[in-house]
Every structure is written in structure tokens, then in C-alpha cells.
Amino acid sequence: MAWQNPEAFWALALVAVPIAIHFLRKHRSARVPFPSLRFVQRSHAAAVRMRNLSDWLLLAVRVATLGLAISALAGPIVLTPSRLDAWDRRMARAVVVDTSESMRMAGEGGEPAAQAADEAADKELGGATFTRHFQATDLGDGMARAIAWLKTTPPSRREVVLISDFHRGAFDDGAAARVRPDVGLRLVAVGRPGEKRRIAGAELLGVDDESSRAETIELTADATVVTLHASAHPAARGLRFVLPPNSADAAGAILRSIARAGAPAGSAEEPIVFRFADAPPVSVTAIASPWMVRTVFGMIDDPALQAESDASQSRSLDRTDPWIVLANDRDRKPMLRAAAAGGELIFDVAARPETLFAASVVRAALVAHAAARRDEDEQEIAPIDRQRLLAWNRPSPPLGNVSPDVLRRVESSDARWLWAVVVILLACEQWLRARTTRTDVEAQRVAA
């Protein structure tokens, strides 16, 4: 026998109550002399007093009734071999379907992988006892939700089925390790991308005599070819500089230098402003736009910024201060911080525009901004090797030892049998009490 709610047994302490009441009652009631008991009916509660064997029996029945009722509340489950076998024959299956951008791209046959994924999902959902369908653009997130649901399913074998095109980067050993050992895993690959894919790459910054360039990326299974060509778009769009006095040329110098090093162009829809040391102050608010957040946090690990700032830099996220501090100097004074001003992302650089740090900041911001706008992983054309996919597969194990986690998921306990016995005992208690009363009435009649 196992118990779903063993903590209910604390209530067994209540069994002491009828016993205590019995012993206390004998001394608690005041004894009052009365001329004749002819017309006085015995109290039902008097059955608790231990005058004879039937009272002992009554107390025993009551204690047993209370004990069994508490046991029923504890959720008893009889673990017979047949019951465990039945649980093992059941399957709880969470089907996670990849709905990322790559699944919507046309594949080899001209049709997107999403269609094949839906068909595969229907097939998987029809073949198990308990099923749930999850959609996720990120397989890791989908898996986490699937595993959370599997924790709530009734006792059964459990598995997660991932349906995806499994392009390179979509799944890895780390993701497979996050699946619990008591949950099976199956990876179902669907769709087949074409032999090559051509996508638009980044637009590169061009300033003055440096013309803007745009990338075209051609992906094949074995190689990635990037072609640069002139772009018709204006250069340095979406960029603005707040400069100190007598630094009019500094902006141009920065742009020229980073353009030569290669930097993405900005975006007119997502403008970025750079304010340098000694420049007029700007009024700011806290960052709220997602593209600003992605850009700012994309800069955190930029190696160029790390090299320029002190190794002890810290990001300050003081909630009262709209500025996000990205780097500090040795004296812990902010060197770089970010905030918003209307629809613009403001970077406050504690350096003059002529410095190398200033140029590094501008380039890092443009790189982070461009990366945040495009999920290049989804453009990957090469799939994960099939053998590798198969290696990640593992069958759902049998239930084995029944843990408290399994017990809590049992749909219904065997409490109903105990409740049936409780009802029978209550009937016995009624009968015993009535018999005691009848005996008293008879005795009274005889005495009279």
C-alpha cells in the first residue's frame, strides 16, 4: 500500500479526542441529586462512558471509524503487479513541433517543412494514451513546457517527441541532456531544404568616399559564399552624434574609421544616438523597446569594448536610474551607459569623440544592432547529421520504483473502499448506541 497524501496521518492525533472525551466526561459532569429518574432519558453521549463491554466496543468502533476515515483522506493506493503493468502499458507523449522561421521556408520540393511537421504531429498524437501538442519557435523552450506537462500526467511511461527540420544549430547535446532520465526522447526530422539558399546579408556602412555595400549570402550544404555589392541606400542612416564644442569633424572621422574596418549600417526606423564627453547633456528615459534591449545586451560581451574598459566593469541596473551602465573605469565611474530618448537609443560615452574607445563603441553598437535584427541561425541550410539525431533518441523507460511523484499523479486512489468500510462502521456505531439505549430502558423498567 502506498499513500498519496501521507501528511494526512497527522490527523490521527484526533483519535485521542474521543478517548479523552470519554475519560474527561466521567469527571466533568456535575452529579446532581434528583428525586426520581423515572422520566429522565439517558443521553446518547452517555454511550461514551465505559460502564460495560458494549461501551468498550462502541469506543473501539468510533476510533476505528476515525482512523479509517483519516486513512482514506491519506489517499491509499494498492500497488498490485497488475496495476503497475497497466501503468507501464500507458504512454504520455508530448509532441513539440518546431514553428521557427526555417520551417516556413520552401524546401527541396518547394513546400515548407511545416506542412510535413503537422502531418507527423497528427500521427504521433494519435498513438498514445495521454497526449499534448506544443508549438515552439525555440525547441529548448518547447521541451521545457513539454516536460513540465509530463510531470502532471497520470502514471505511465513518458516521452517527448520533437518534430523539426533540425538544421545545424537547432539541437545539441546540451538540449538532449536537459531531458530527464525517466522521460524518453524521439527526434522526428521533417522537410528537406534545397541544395542552396540565397539570403540577404547585412548592409555595411559607407561614409563619404566609402560607398555603402550590401551583402548577399549564398548557403550550400558545404559552404557559405558572401558577395558584396554596392547598395543604393544612403549611408549612416539612423545615426546621430551629440558632440562637444569644436568637434565637428569628429563624427565623420569615426564613421570613416569604422566603415573601413567594416561595420553594419544603421536603420532609419531604429535610430541610435551617441553622446560624447563634454557634449551637451541629453534628457533620457529608461529603455523599453525590445530592439534597444537586444542591441544593448548584445554589446555586453563585445571583445572590443572589454579591451577598452576596465576588467572590473559592471553593469548597473539601478531601477531608479534610467541609464544602463555597460562599462566602468578603474575608479568605477561609468564609461559607457545606455538609455532611451523617445524612439532613439542613446549611448553616453565618457570619452571624447577623437578616441579609439569612442570608435569602438560606435562599431560595437552597430554590430549588436544588426545582429539583433536578424536570426542568422534560422537561415542555416545544412541539417544535423541523421546518425547524430538517432543517437539522441532514447526509449521511454518503465515506471520502475513508484516514487511519491508517481503516486501524486494517480487519477483516483483506493480511498473508496475505505470509505465503504467507514459507512459500515458508522451503521454499526448507530446500532450499538441504539442497543445501549434499549438496554437502559429495559433496566429502568425492571427497576421501576
Binding site: V32, P35, S36, L37, F39
Partner: protein, 297 residues
């Protein structure tokens, strides 16, 4: 603040002088009664004798003194027309006093004394039978003040003891009455077995029977709302009564009272119910008024 009534049962029953108590009770009960409820004193002149020191001066014939210059005392032959037997239940159940702090026995004692006094003052004969399981004390019916004092003395010594067996005692008390008379029974009447038969027999014989049913307020109302363990005063048995016992008790006790009322009505027995927290004169007066009204002698 007003002085407690001299007829307050608690006060009266606490007085040691039963003769005084009886007289006060009778005075209170019979005030305003223009007729005597019992047969009046009837005495016939019997003879003269010489005055002896100590004779009551009211019996000196002054007219004869005026004629003879000698003192002569009149002697009368007393004629008692009524023989009465006061029968008092002195079983243990009569010891119950309740919240009034006046036991049924004390109440019965004063009532018996008052009745005896009233009867004796009318010149009639009165006797006493005290019973529990059997007659415990018996004073035969006689007239006169001296005899009355014997009766009052027996009542003064009366204590509650033993269980009740009224039928046998009643039979004996009735048999001890040599001629038709008045039987006054003072009891809580819990013992119903065969009592009806004895009462019926007493009435058939020709006695006039009056029943004084003494009860406490607690017996009538059963004021115990919670759980209480009750001990029978006679048997010593105990019983635990719960909150629901009151309703059934009141119902059954009302039926018990109704049975006695019906019995008494059937056999033309005067039935007076007395509660120990009610003034003694009120209870007695009701009986006396009925007796006067019925013309009974």
C-alpha cells in the same frame, strides 16, 4: 424593600416551633373564610365540679358564683364528629429541595402540621401516619390539644429515609381508621404502583380522601439544559442526561401529573398540587375553599 412574608415557605420551614408555624399557616389560609372547613367544636355540658387552682377561668360559671359565692367549673363532654388521618410520605425522594432550598419533606411537615392544627382546633380528631416502605410512625386519631402536640412532635422528628412503597402504607393507614373519616395524604406520589387501588378502596370504604401532591420547581420544569449526571435519591442510581433530555422529561412528567389528576377526578379525591416555592397558605387555602364550597364536613 419590604419585609419577607411570614408565610414564605423558606422562613416558615426554618422555624423550629411547629405549633407556631402551623398556627400562622392556618391563620393565613383561613382568613376571610366565613365557614369552618371542618366540623366545628361541639361540646355538651356534662357537670359542675369545684374549682381547683389551675382550672381555666373561662369555664368558671360566674352566674353560679353570684348566686352561691362559690367557684364552680363547668365540665363539657366533647363530641368529635370528624376523624382525620394525616398520611405523610417520608421517603428519600421527599428530601429533595431544589433551588427554593425548601425540601418537600419540610413543606409536607408544615402542611401536615397546619392541617392537624386546623382539624384539632375544630375539636375533631386527628392522627398521623408517616411512611416510606411501610408505616414508620403512627399516632392514632384523637382530639384535644395534648394530642395535637403529640402529632406535632412526631412531625418535628420526621426525617426522609428509605424508598417508597405507598400502597402498603396507605392500606395500613386506612385500616387503622376505625370509622369513616378524612384521609389527607401528603406525598410526591412517584410510587404509582397499586396506589390507585388503595385509594379506590379507601373511597369505597367511605373515607373522604384528599391528595396533596408536593413538588419542587425543578421536578416540574427540569431546568438542566446541558449535560448533567443525575442521582436518584432513593435508589442511588445515576443517569447522564443530555441537552435533549429536557423535552422528553417535561412531556412525560406532564403525563404523570395528568394521570394523577384523572385518577383523583375519577374517584372524587380532592387533588392539590403544591410547589415548594409557593406560599404554604395559598396551597392550603385552595383546599379549604374547595372543601367549604363543596359543603363537605
Amino acid at each position: 424593600m419590604h419585609a419577607p412574608s411570614v408565610l414564605d415557605p423558606k422562613l416558615l420551614t426554618s422555624l423550629g416551633d411547629l405549633e407556631l408555624v402551623a398556627r400562622v399557616t392556618v391563620d393565613g389560609a383561613s382568613s376571610g373564610l366565613h365557614e369552618s372547613p371542618f366540623h366545628g367544636y361541639s361540646a355538651e355540658f356534662h357537670q359542675y365540679r369545684h374549682y381547683r387552682p389551675g382550672d381555666d377561668l373561662k369555664y368558671v360559671d360566674w352566674k353560679l358564683f353570684a348566686r352561691t359565692d362559690r367557684f364552680y367549673t363547668k365540665q363539657y363532654q366533647e363530641t368529635a364528629n370528624l376523624v382525620a388521618q394525616v398520611v405523610v410520605d417520608a421517603s428519600r425522594s421527599m428530601a429533595f429541595d431544589g433551588s427554593a432550598r425548601v425540601s418537600k419533606l419540610a413543606y409536607a411537615r408544615v402542611m401536615a402540621a397546619a392541617l392537624a392544627h386546623l382539624i384539632a382546633s375544630q375539636g375533631d380528631a386527628v392522627g398521623l401516619a408517616i411512611y416510606d416502605e411501610a408505616i414508620r410512625e403512627y399516632v392514632p386519631s384523637r382530639s384535644g390539644q395534648t394530642h395535637l402536640r403529640r402529632v406535632l412532635a412526631a412531625l418535628s422528628k420526621m426525617e426522609a429515609s428509605g424508598r417508597t412503597s405507598a400502597a402498603a402504607a396507605l392500606r395500613r393507614a386506612v385500616d387503622l381508621l376505625k370509622r369513616r373519616g378524612l384521609v389527607l395524604i401528603i406525598s410526591d406520589l412517584y410510587d404509582e404502583d397499586d396506589v390507585e387501588r388503595e385509594l379506590k378502596r379507601a373511597v369505597r370504604i367511605g373515607h373522604e380522601v384528599a391528595l396533596f401532591h408536593v413538588l419542587t420547581r425543578e421536578e416540574l420544569e427540569f431546568p438542566y439544559g446541558g449535560e448533567v449526571e443525575l442521582e436518584d435519591l432513593e435508589s442511588g442510581q445515576t443517569r447522564l442526561a443530555g441537552p435533549g433530555a429536557r423535552t422528553s422529561y417535561r412531556r412525560e412528567f406532564a403525563e404523570f401529573l395528568e394521570r394523577w389528576r384523572t385518577r383523583c377526578a375519577r374517584y372524587r379525591i380532592d387533588y392539590t398540587r403544591m410547589l415548594t416555592d409557593a406560599s404554604l397558605d395559598t396551597a392550603l387555602r385552595g383546599y379549604l375553599l374547595r372543601r367549604v364550597g363543596s359543603g363537605a364536613r
